[in-house]
């Protein structure tokens, strides 16, 4: 058993109005000094074997195919633990 984490973020050039709304809310809550917030998605992919090279390659393929839309999003893959 292993857990592989996929983080998906909008590409830097794509406007993130949700992140902006969060950033605007923070000062009202007393948090100062925040210059920007970008919102993304985190996927925790549990696999039944070890997180070896082949398994990681598989998860990358999942990210490329379904988890991220690479037209507007970047993704990164890492093994937890």
């Amino acid at each position: 058993m292993a857990r592989v984490i996929v983080d998906v973020m909008l590409k830097p050039e794509i406007l993130d109005p949700q992140g902006q709304a969060i950033a605007r809310a923070l000062p009202r809550l007393g948090f100062s000094g925040v210059t920007e917030v970008r919102q993304g998605k985190r996927f925790e992919v549990e696999i039944d074997g070890p997180a070896d090279e082949a398994a990681i390659a598989d998860v990358r393929k999942m990210a490329e195919t379904l988890l991220a839309n690479t037209v507007i999003e970047d993704y990164s893959v890492r093994v937890e633990g």
Binding site: L15, A21, L66, V71
Partner: protein, 227 residues
Amino acid sequence: MGAARVGVVTFPGTLDDQDAARAVRHAGGEAVPLWHADRDLKGVDAVFLPGGFSYGDYLRCGAISRFAPLMEELIPAAHAGLPVLGTCNGFQILCEAHLLPGALTRNENLHYVCRDQRVLVESNATAWTGDYTPGQEILLPVKHGEGRYVADAATVTALESGDQIVFRYLGGNPNGSVNDIAGISNEAGNVVGLMPHPEHAVEDLTGAPSVDGRGFFTSILKRFVSL
């Protein structure tokens, strides 16, 4: 020959399929229900992907629908020239399926927008817009929360120079879409996607703001009568 047969696809969560089918029949065509889980296009002449929230819009709008069994048939057929129209969620699905370039993202102001929208017809050189005139202004309902069209600069330039921007918003951009883009086509002009809803604007009886949507359906039916 008999009436042209236009397939109307239903995914779990599709909302506008009945209106789409009715619009096809209103124009004199035969509406053929297509089910997302069937690998069968039933030999239709054209396909309409209606709006709604297919698969609950989980992950991203259209991201899961794009892999439905029906889409495995539709994608190669569209590449081979089958006319396909996607409105709203249908447009999102066409972008996720890479049948159209770019993507649809959350509205700039984060508001779900539901209103009657003035739309400029930019191109009648597609399978679905032959009955319009470039420069014509039409009025169609829009209703979406994720309709902001985005694409990289090179793609937008190619769309502009290739006459692939089919519709633009007039009188206020409802979602922050780049260059006020409301709808685009692929290079061949057989695949068209737009956020506004022509299928909701074909009959006075339903309280539609206009009957300007009829042209989509008469355009596609004429195409098959003239073959």
